[in-house]
Subunit: 240 residues, 6 copies
């Protein structure tokens, strides 16, 4: 299964590439969490004394942490080194190493692997889908990614709130229209919808990728909402 | 990445375990399709001269088939031997071996791996979610699985049409109510919904599994609908 | 009221014409039910020992059976002889002979009387409407009818699941689009919708018939859902 | 088919019983319409020179009038004598005598036959359902009936606009809640909904009648909307 | 703040202009209500002994009446003199003179001030929006206004029930389509929608006014529904 | 109209009170805009060279700026001095001084006047309503206000994305549930909803205020969406 290893490597490269992340506040606690089994599902709030405390567990399910494989342990360490924290979605999946590995392989292939869609465009799809589904975790984490990749903080905010107000290219608008229709009414997507993407310049492979990314976040949004997954506090301040 | 290999093996075991599948009509054509690159996206209709022909390609995207890894080639052969055909969703993903492998690993872990949910219960979730999303591919393939696993053809039909009419246990009804609410309005799922599952006898790990299976089919439904994926004709007649 | 008698006769003819129904398992019990007043609302499950029993009463209301007129008694006997069973919807209405007669007269005129729509097309409308409304009884009974009339089992399944995936003519697609829009948002149907039907080749009389059949199943779906009406088990296996 | 004749007779009795209808303005034109085939689908506006003319045909389909049976001719004459006009829905169905007869028999049995529901209660259901479906014809004709039967003009207006604001008994509120849920989401009606009706004092036969009346107007609303059926102008001023 | 005074004056002029209002039954009670603090929130039903009593308080909140400014006292007196009653919405706001004044100033500027939209057109928007939101108070009060301004009682009824059935100009239809889309799905309104209004002959200032009136009734509908605001009985009989 | 002047003064006080706003980048351009009529509807983007330019006009309607009254001119100057910019919604309304004054008076009374709701709570309602309606302008401006008033940046983000994830008091949750139900389905709000607020500790006057603030943003959201209103860039960075 050499390709799966390749997907992990792609992720590492991306972690290296993520621009401008400071060596993050929540990190030490997270690292400790990965070592200490009983504390694993907690993440300390980065903010001193907010009016409403936000030191919730990562998810609202009580799942004892599992034993990570060396590959996953190394991957978490790389996240810590490069991002300053391990994204909470990975902490959430860490109760079962197989589930964590399959999630990481799928995520990294879709969001960081070869595609006719830029990494920014894939993040734009992630946010537009998550906005339709009102997923707090994904809007926070991927809203930050849109801000980072685009260098345009407003763009991230706009797609979180209502992608229709974003001043994007016709190609990108067609892409988001398709992703959101596929999210809202999947059973009504038909050849005419694919044709609109082709007319906007997308290849059939691009259409697969748009669909797969939109599909993936329809999965992740639901896992996150079903478990009340909480984003790392660090995301909120990134790339404003 | 030993665990991913284990997931593939779990799938093999399940292929062996699938009850009562006759050595299937569409199979030879499918096998040839896997060997011949240009024909790969086609699957012959099993039915002679239907009023409306159904010899459509597997998906409505023109994606040249990719080179399969030895593991995936062996997996396809095992499907052919045990089921009589390679499920079209695998044929569809076969344009890219990495995407195929990550899909197979995720699918097999979720649907066939260890869980407090029986395999039938996971298929019931698959069908209830796919019914809400009106996904032709998944309703056909997983409707057949519910008929097979339950030995109750009516149960499969009922969940395809409206899971509320199925005469199932309170536990299973709570499970499907959660899965369908998570499908229809993910952003409105809250602690009260999890509590209802706990009161119906589910553990927190079960709740994760219900959410993950429901999430997975919200992804697959959308990939299938976005690409007009067509189920193997053989499913229609299984376990009636 | 000679015409109403004609409608009953039309129904008889249709009962004769229904292809390929074997002399049906549930029939003897049904016949007894029609003779025995106390047992009338029960129908035995055809399947031996299903995982989940399905020997439910025909409807979830406790309505003592009424006295049938000679015409209706003869009609039930003809159903028994030709179909092998009396459709449960008729058993349900049999608590009141007037209601049964008006239902039969309306049904037979709409579904079996003269029309520019073929009998198959009227059944396609029945199933597409019932799919939108998720009516278990009508999807089962009329899904079987689409399979029978078309000789294409897949077509029946497709319209049950999502009529948009069926490979049908543009004319038939326009017909189902109108019927489903009329079902989903009747107050938004306007001249433009009728014009689309005319452009697809339908006459004004055809438009009436499409509307009347779609309307009828919007009624029947609701009577069936309100009373938890259960279809005869025999339908499930027909014309697979 | 003696019972069908009885249903027609019940309707005659009701026509006699309808309170306070003045010998209506639009009547002569209507009578002529019934005699003159070419003019049949038109009804003159009662109001002199409205800002926006309303002399539309009865429906937006061009259907040549059919030959009425003696029974239906007599029934139209009785409407004319007692109500001052023939309701346009009957004029619309008159293109085909069988369809007219089956509609009349069904309507009269449901709305005027024996039932545990008062005639006013059945009209309240008619209006609440038609309000959900935004059916102009039925809201106008049956809104007038609620005003007449109740002697409370406000009640008719309230159910047209939003039945939740009507100051009605708990029993009647439960009845309308059931009818509107059955209209909005028929596939979600379950035993709990029937139990709520039973707790509000309704028998199982009453539940059938509520369902049948709600179902009937879900049919009629769609036939009316699909054909742009226009109510007789006389209804607007009745029982204000 | 001279302009605000001008808005009040505009309202006075409009009160004078309202055609055909008889010197109203409920008025004396209303006048007394304005003088007597404890009785202020009640309005007597005009109708003797309706089947269901309608002598409800103006709103379902217990708010002690406030002290009116001389301007507002004069305004109420003018309403009484010219309309025969003080509209209940003003009675409802009268618990706080500032809230009453700002409401009156906004209302009168929007509905009676200078605009490219006629007063009838603004009332048509009010009713179409209120019909979407099913607001009993606004449908009653502004339905009466459409009947009065248009001299066409049917037009008022039609927009209350379903504006799509009204026989209005293409310009007015475009206006109502925009207002109802803005009501139903505000986040989906885009440049294409504004362009449709421009093509129908509206200026950019007109578009503002359509939006502002539609917006205003989306506010008022909600205040009225949230408080169960009851319309003056006199509206029901106006301009039939 | 002394009270209206008081409302303006209340606003001034609030402008003074708004915490932590730096003397803002966009301000000089805005000030010039207020002096130069032709440029008035433009606002310069604060951010140097974003990937996607955001120097759009304030609204997508071409409305020549009106002459401001001395009171409004002073008010704009005060905004400039205290906030560093004039909120674009005021710039948008400035084409007509009467509309601007009535908007300011209503806004300031609702959001800054006496109430049992804290200013933060009123802003929370503003954001929850605007999130349901997906209003970019209001989410941006009032999301910033929630961040400021609460001193909890996460709270602002959470209510923008999905208020259900915010860790707020039961009282505040009941308040937002009511406001969002009133937004989504105003015609279904009834006494039970008001009772829930009372049980959560709200007085009838509080219920009025919740309803009035929710209603106001249902108006403003629609004016903003209908005109493509753009928020001042400065909001994005406030109180992160």
């Amino acid at each position: 299964m050499a390709k799966a290893n390749k997907a992990i490597k792609t992720a590492d490269k991306a972690a290296n590439a993520k621009p401008g992340t400071s060596p993050a506040k929540a990190a030490p606690v997270q690292t400790k969490a990965l070592q200490s089994k009983t504390a694993m599902m907690k993440v300390a709030a980065a903010k001193a004394a907010p009016a409403v405390a936000d030191d919730a567990p990562v998810i609202a399910l009580n799942l004892p942490p599992g034993k990570l494989s060396p590959a996953m342990t190394a991957y978490f360490k790389k996240c810590q080194d490069k991002l300053g924290f391990v994204p909470n979605v990975l902490v959430a999946y860490a109760f079962d190493n197989t589930k964590l590995e399959t999630f990481v392989a799928l995520y990294n292939d879709l969001m960081l692997g070869d595609s006719g869609l830029s990494k920014l465009e894939r993040e734009m799809i992630a946010v537009a889908v998550s906005s339709h589904n009102r997923c707090y975790y994904c809007l926070t984490a991927h809203g930050a990614a849109v801000r980072q990749y685009s260098g345009n903080p407003l763009l991230g905010e706009q797609i979180v709130m209502n992608y229709r107000v974003a001043r994007i290219s016709k190609r990108q608008r067609a892409m988001l229209d398709f992703a959101v229709k596929l999210t809202a009414a999947p059973g009504s997507v038909e050849e005419g919808d694919r044709e609109r993407l082709r007319r906007a310049g997308f290849t059939d492979r691009d259409i697969w990728d748009i669909s797969a990314v939109a599909g993936f976040f329809n999965m992740s949004n639901r896992v996150a909402s079903a478990t009340d997954m909480r984003p790392n506090t660090a995301y909120h301040g990134q790339a404003r």
